[in-house]
Symmetry: C2
Amino acid sequence: MVLDSAGLWLVIILVGVGVGVLGAWLDVLVKWLGDLREGRCTYGFFYNQVACCSGLDPGEICNEWQTWSEYFHVTSIFGQSLLQATIYMTLSVAFAGSSAVLVIIYAPYAFHTGIPEIKAILSGYVLDQFLGAWVLLIKAVGLALAVASGLSLGKEGPLVHVACCWAFLLSRPFRQYRQNEARKRKLLAAAAAAGVSVAFGSPLGGVLFGLEELDAFSNDSDVMWRGFVTSVIAAVSLQYIDPFGTSKLVLFQVSESGTTWRGFELIPWMFLSVIGGLLGSLLIKLNAAAAVYRRHSQLHNFPIVEVVGFTAITAATSYLLVFLRVQSSELVANLFQECDPTKPDYHGLCNPTAIWANVFLLVLTALVKIAFTAWTFGMMVPAGIFLPTIAIGACLGRAVGLVTQGLYRAYPTAWIFSSCPPDPTVRCISPGFYAVIGASAMLGGVTRMTISLVVIMFELTGALSHVLPLMISVMVSKWVADAFGKDGIYTVWIAMRQYPWLPTRDFRDKGQTAAHVMKPVSNLFVIHDDGHGCSVKELNEFISRHSFGGFPVLHGEQLLGMVMRDKLRACLVGLIADDPSMEQRCTFLPPSRTGQGDSGMVNLSNLLEEAVLQLRKDVPLELVVSMFQKMNVRHILFSQEGKLVGMVTKTDIVWLLTAESSHAGALAERHY
Amino acid sequence: MVLDSAGLWLVIILVGVGVGVLGAWLDVLVKWLGDLREGRCTYGFFYNQVACCSGLDPGEICNEWQTWSEYFHVTSIFGQSLLQATIYMTLSVAFAGSSAVLVIIYAPYAFHTGIPEIKAILSGYVLDQFLGAWVLLIKAVGLALAVASGLSLGKEGPLVHVACCWAFLLSRPFRQYRQNEARKRKLLAAAAAAGVSVAFGSPLGGVLFGLEELDAFSNDSDVMWRGFVTSVIAAVSLQYIDPFGTSKLVLFQVSESGTTWRGFELIPWMFLSVIGGLLGSLLIKLNAAAAVYRRHSQLHNFPIVEVVGFTAITAATSYLLVFLRVQSSELVANLFQECDPTKPDYHGLCNPTAIWANVFLLVLTALVKIAFTAWTFGMMVPAGIFLPTIAIGACLGRAVGLVTQGLYRAYPTAWIFSSCPPDPTVRCISPGFYAVIGASAMLGGVTRMTISLVVIMFELTGALSHVLPLMISVMVSKWVADAFGKDGIYTVWIAMRQYPWLPTRDFRDKGQTAAHVMKPVSNLFVIHDDGHGCSVKELNEFISRHSFGGFPVLHGEQLLGMVMRDKLRACLVGLIADDPSMEQRCTFLPPSRTGQGDSGMVNLSNLLEEAVLQLRKDVPLELVVSMFQKMNVRHILFSQEGKLVGMVTKTDIVWLLTAESSHAGALAERHY
């Protein structure tokens, strides 16, 4: 028991440290690859721009970092631009292309974000191929390449997948995890929390993401506690390694100056929240439509061509649109930053005479990015949706902030601005915080998360004093978006791929009973044991004929129990090896009822599942659904006075709950 | 459906607003009563000290607030002290005494924190008296009196209770809440979140408290979403009313200066965390011992005497011990504050020459407060444990911080301090933040909360950049405390009062099956319907003889179903009114089996519960326990081929899980 517990904590600590190290390593790799598109470090090829230029006094110019045109000694302006653009585009396409090649050849499961699959796995779906060593390696490398290629994607979701793969690999040597699916799931839940913790530098947000979005700790304080520990350890490891030398976990520090907000600001924030909800909902619909189109068009057969082509388009557009040229994380950091005369102005964002030009550019950037993201999220590369969504929201938010600021500057005495300080040198409106609001509203619309989103956002930005506006904006944006469909993007993908995952939301029947979804006994494939047993041959034929996971066993009409396919097959293989004639007869009746030396039949009654739920068929449908949601069972039998009358499987309930969804099963690999 | 949903949101919004207003009103009342012990406002009796002195320029002295000695024109120093102390003690005793009288006469349910009861109610226990209008009124007024009396208690837990009472009252006029226990519970969960939100000014912490400690949103994203909305609305209402005129939700603002921390500080913080875990665990044990002693001693019969006497002791000690003289919230705010030459020094805490005197005083204060709190939490007054725990932890933390700072000042060049900035004017060690760490470690030890605790702590203090040390300290303190018993203080009280509440932690059987806890059919009180029915008289006698909540109904050995006592009784009352002879015969067999005009017997088969869970008696005990934990059922029947073999009720499982607890049932009102 003590050893067992020590082993458990050892694995948890190793998972935490490993995830922290993986996250730090990915950060470094992405930064280096991304910078490589613009230039190289003179004294060491493997330094990124920041590392290359570190150790300088403030104000000193960094000569160690050379752009490619400097490196190749191109002097004409035109030649410089051409060379830079060419290298930028070529490397982008090369990165994205190699990422796609790696994914398609070595680990198709490594594409996309991975969150929908992890949600399904944590709710009981067994998909061990999704968590293998190859997937870990390819997803990590592919992700770095994909992010560095400048495609409109983030590393957050895939990092959760990488963390889960790592935990799965670590757990393999331990018998207690290998043999116990429930324990394995709990470890994966903790790893997922650590993944978010590292991805956002947000240990609390990680735990809450596990809690809210992955629904991983449902009703089990132990699992939450382990998630908490893993998450902290991962964050500590990341901070210890400190990949960017900032010794801060907070990714996008918001300046402290705008610590108070005024009541009238709620109006633009509400507007932003509504826009965020609408556009979030639109992004989900566009993305689903793109995925369905891709599946049914010729593109489905040429995924690498698609990736390469789309990367070229993205790279060309990004190079032209100044805000898109840098990596999304840098863009977001700049948009969140308040204007400060002592710091360099990012592309004239703080220029008071260029407000309308900036607003136009920001809105354009947001719209282009929505289109890019809707298409990119679903291509054959590892891709997260978090960062692009934040970037879209931040652009819109900054635009609204600039407009509000512009109005204030134009009419400083209007009654609506009367709560602003009279001193014009004190900033009244902080457009950087509008960008934060915009980002959370957009994220709220796309993911429909609530608490974890708020916590992640203010762990990202450090804007604790503004927790109330943040919460209000998430609330409004979710309200608006819910009006256009209850499902967040991950849930939509789960429905499209038809994973056996049940939404946790309340299901209300309209007076139906279980009979509404129940397969009646006459339609079921059941094993009949009429007292004379069944021959091994009969049983063997039976299970090769039907592919279901388990079969009810009847004696007359009386239900004896349920036998799982895998267990029965394993047993039959043994019996066939003993007696290849397959004439041996087996019975499922308990020994007490067959008598001792009655028949020489093999007694298989111990194969019957112990924990089969039985209900009466007139229970309300609500109860059946909530049973599947909460108890993590695969099937429920319905009996009346001991006689089997029907069965409901998890798949039936998944169909029932996703039937309304317009894309249900649109991308399913196989049909149940 | 739309009306239904509109009604739901209306109630939720009203709950939020109401809780915000209640919280603000309580804040004002407490502050005024507390200040009244020291003096009064010249131009208005109902102003508290802050309100009385508001509107002054900085530096101006407040002449509008008079201490009692000024008011009565006492001039001699000795006379002044005597008068102040007398009024202070008299009012303290009067406040606490009236609080106890109110509670004992009008609403005994209003005593204590209320969190254990709410946990039980949210997990399915029906205790409507606990949520009545009288309880609301008495708990609110009694709480204000109790807090103002200077007893070692806080208002946080009781405020959650008040919020739940308010939600319960609001929900009464709506039929959908009155008739549906599950819906009522969901509303109460949202109200509890709003209560915490207002108590700590921590809207996120409120939701998380609901999630973690109350386990209120288990597996239901809708409930969490409603809790989120209620919590935000309550916080907005509170902020709008702004009872203290600070226009900030953050209760104990930590100054921003200490935004970086050094690795070596982890050593004192670890030490603090271990101490917090140990003392937290000790506080729980002392408190339980005090409660058990009180119950079995003469004090049980004289609760008012106890409250008055103990208040006198507390007031006398507090008046002598300088840190205890102010209200706990003020003490905590001062301890969390960093030293700042521009602000007044709180009782010489920042005096570098008085370090050891301060450390001694702080440790003494903490120890006295532990003893006081252990006794106070359980007296017949409304009392929360959060704030006293924070105060104890803050004292210890500040002491450790002072020691560390003292060491640094004595040996600034020691290698351990090498990471401190060389410039001695820059602060290296921030004792205020040590107090925050101490408070969270202590809270971790007492409540065993994790995430919600961290979120509440940094919403309280705004110390976001220190989230990692906070998480580590909570983690270590919980680890240490768990070694001395897994239960937090609320769980201990639930066990002592024997509420039917199941801990959510994993239960592992040692190979036992359900048969281990099952009451076999021979020991059950069952209704037999052998086909000739039972007379109304027999049934009536049966239910008056047995007080169980429900009875299995058998036909021969075949299980027909379960009938709930309340439903059966209501039906019998109707039948008796129709035919007072009680000769009428009833049957539970379904109409299809009795034939139509067969017997003229009253058919009661529609009384049978639809949703009764049936299992086989050889399922693992783990499964049975997790069924009770997750499905919120009251009983599970065990049957074999349709024959009833036994039953397990929730109470059996509660006994099973709390049997290890040393105080199980020590304060139980009744035995199950």
